[in-house]
Amino acid sequence: MANENSSLQLLANGILKENPIFKLALSMCPAVGISTTVMNGLLLGTAVLFVQVFSSLTISAMKNFIHPRIRIPTYTLTIATWVTVIDLSLAAYFPAAYMKMGIFVKIIVAFAIITMRLEMFACKETVSDSFWDGLGMGLGFLVGMVVIGFVRELLGSGAILGYDVLGFKPLLFFILPSAGFFVVGLMMAFFNWIEAAYAQRKRGNP
């Protein structure tokens, strides 16, 4: 992956081709549980972005030091460290945001997407590639959370970012956790449809 486009390719790979939520279907619990509003999605997505980037960098830089037999505990330790750092910093410098998502930040430790990226990518590749991969995956998660949050907030509360835009609540059901699966499912179908259409066009078929 030494060509010129590699960093951009890695970035796009996380956002579109291997989007953590819509393509890899990883970290579904937070995607379903927390994405009830755009703001929640944005805040948690940003926190995940930071943890993913820092963890990828750390593991990639330390890859020769990590003994292969104990790599998973080391990943967890790394992630937990960065989550704690983010958690403490948020509580200290962004108290308003922290009040809204305090407990969600702590469960980032258990997000499958981060461990998976460390195992699949960061422990083999160079530091700069890992940075772009982490950034791409984090952004992919962030975008996914915001999109789901947008749909659920609009349909469930009739609002966007807390501002009442519809004046009524179309489907209260969309606030509940189970509706998250519906939205994720529909989004997955949408993403697959786009990809299929794109591939078909590339082949030149009508």
Partner: protein, 298 residues
Amino acid sequence: MKNILTIIFRLTASCLVAGLVMGTTFVFTNKAKKANEFAREEKVMYSLLGYSKENPIPESMGLHEMFRYVVSEGDIQSIGYLLPAESHGEGSFNFVRIDLDGNFLDSSSVSISEEKVRDQKDRDAAVQSALGAGRYARFVDGTIVVTDNGNRLAYLLGGKFPGFKTHIAIMLALDPSYSILGLEVMEHEEDPGLGAEIEQDYFKNQFVYKPFEKIKSIDVVKSPLPDEYFEALEGKIDESAAVDVMKQYSDRDIYALTGATISSAAVSSGVRAMTRKFAYRLDILDHVINEQQIAVPF
């Protein structure tokens, strides 16, 4: 064997580095975190009393904190109150012990500064050293008594109770006859759009102006909130008219939130229990204070 040693060494080294990173962050952020929490609590306290930054609290008013402890001595338990002494000087607190029947046991002076008394660790240590060996004091809760020129104006109490999902923490302002002056939800994890509506003015302001007699038996009703009441609660009409409407409804139960009856019932039963217990405890404490002529600033 060599493998094991390498693993042990590397894992230990990683843990040490991780601990160092986390510890450093903690040291850097802890002060700001505590300051944030304190600032929020203070802001809520002032807003419940009707003051804000633009409209600061007058000089003649005083906020006096008192702390309740459970003291155990072997199998025997008693209640202890850490009360500020009359003269607000350095280290002027009294620790008053009352037995479970409400009779005065003893009083000892505790020397701790006004600043340190807010920190639970320092306060616990001071109380423990005043009690001496053989007795163990456990902190239960703190209450703030608000006075104006020495007359009691309000009580501010915090409380936690189970909600629909996890716990709900609230702060309650009561007037001297235990009627409710204000309610603020400090922490909760209810569902957004459903139980989380307990934060909204149209729910929490329903408690305001409810007299103690009503609070003792308050419950929720599952009927729609009348429009005029909703507008008064949300502050959409001018203040004196809103107060009139809210007083009209002061003998009604709480209108439950649509789709969140359990959260609504949790808050109203929580408020009921907090107010009743507080009134009961304070009556006993006041009785003891008057009987023993203990000097307090409230």
